[in-house]
């Protein structure tokens, strides 16, 4: 096989998706992020679900609009110095926190993955899997919750586990997938199994 072009090679070196995850074990948010990411990986790669970006895109769009409002306020104020800019400024300033609030309300649920399982026959609507998690500050107990919403019956089922993060990370801060992946799969299979017996 011919050698990759220089640019592709650099990009490959930059992405470290396939290397084992290594983080600072004392950094709570890094621990939670890596556990969340790995749970995502299990659902997307092992079970081949398709990620639905609508939730995330919605948040990104709201934030971008908020920033646009701020930029508009800045430029308007620059062109028409205060006090002529008062109404425009007032409008932007009031709408800005409203957008932040709507975004915080969404974030409350702490769902970090929405994925679809496409029906292989192509007839029924997709099943939806949602992942959310929590890890309290300075605590070692990580809770992962998996929610299954059937495409056909619209029924919702959930399962969760709470384990100490010490079970999944080794002394150096490397995530041990051999310990974590079975837990996530067990969670998934417990919900998938119920579906089959119904």
């Amino acid at each position: 096989m011919a050698a990759k072009s220089g640019r592709n090679g650099l990009l490959d070196k930059w992405k470290i998706d396939d290397k084992p995850v290594k983080i600072d074990k004392w950094d709570g948010s890094a621990v939670k992020n890596s556990l969340d990411d790995s749970a995502k990986k299990v659902l997307l790669e092992k079970y081949k679900y398709v990620e639905n970006f609508r939730l995330i895109d919605g948040r990104l769009i709201i934030c971008t609009i908020s920033c646009l409002f701020a930029i508009v306020a800045l430029i308007w104020d620059y062109l028409h110095p205060f006090p002529e800019s008062k109404p425009v400024l007032a409008f932007c300033v009031v709408s800005y926190p409203l957008q932040i609030l709507s975004q915080l309300y969404q974030k409350e649920k702490s769902i970090f993955l929405v994925a679809h399982r496409k029906d292989p026959a192509g007839m029924d609507p997709d099943d939806i899997w949602q992942l959310s998690s929590s890890l309290k500050r300075f605590d070692d107990k990580y809770t992962l919750k998996l929610t299954f919403i059937s495409g056909k019956t619209k029924q919702q089922r959930e399962a969760e586990f709470t384990k100490s993060i010490a079970k999944f990370f080794d002394n150096n801060g490397t995530l041990v997938m051999e310990a974590y992946e079975p837990e996530v799969s067990k969670l998934h299979d417990s919900l998938a199994l119920e579906r089959k017996t119904k």
Binding site: K15, W26, K32, C63, A70, P83, C92, N172, G173
Partner: protein
């Protein structure tokens, strides 16, 4: 031996890039957006204060000792500038001289008021020997309402020294902003 092996509490530069390298396009955009949101929030809070107080500069720092013992260099002043506030002799106002950026905090010592509400007033720093006519524009002897930035409604002593230091040593200010900006851009939120 001690139980803590390997990484210590501090994050190295490669750790920070490690987070970035694992991110997809959306997450990278979110990092940039996060930074923009912080800047926008600060901006909106400032503009909000401007709207609510009616003053173009609601928070100012006292730069000189010309109003001692009432205000000292480094004091932070909170201003309002409501249209109907009367200007009376003896009150402290913050004003800008036409053509100059820097607001001045001095006391009103003389006021001429017409029936229709037009006002001409003269100011002087408590700690100064002479009135401010030397500071006004060439040929200008009086200040008018449009020159007023606001009146002090509250103050915090010493807090403004940070601003003075950052203005005297701009490199320090840029270094601080650069470090804070880099931290927000590189650190991943959960």
């Amino acid at each position: 031996g001690w139980p803590r092996s390997g990484g210590t509490r501090g994050r190295t530069a490669m750790d920070l890039f490690g987070d970035l390298r694992r991110m997809n396009k959306r997450q990278l955009y979110y990092q940039v957006l996060n930074f923009a949101m912080i800047v926008s929030s600060a901006l909106m809070i400032w503009k909000g204060l401007i709207v609510v107080t009616g003053s173009e500069s609601p928070i100012v720092v006292v730069l000189s000792g010309s109003m001692e013992p009432a205000f000292h260099r480094g004091d932070l002043l909170f201003l309002t500038n409501f249209h109907d506030d009367p200007i009376r002799a003896g009150e402290i106002v913050v004003f800008k001289v036409e053509g100059r950026d820097i607001p001045i905090v001095h006391r009103v010592i003389k006021v001429h008021e017409k029936g229709n509400g037009n006002i001409k007033f003269l100011t002087k720093g408590d700690n100064n020997e002479v009135d401010d006519r030397g500071l006004y524009k060439e040929g200008q002897n009086w200040l008018e309402k449009k020159d007023v930035v606001g009146r002090a409604r509250g103050f915090l002593p010493y807090v403004g020294m940070v601003t003075i230091i950052m203005n005297d040593y701009p490199k320090f200010k840029y270094a601080l902003l650069a470090v804070m900006g880099a931290y927000v851009l590189l650190k991943r939120e959960s």
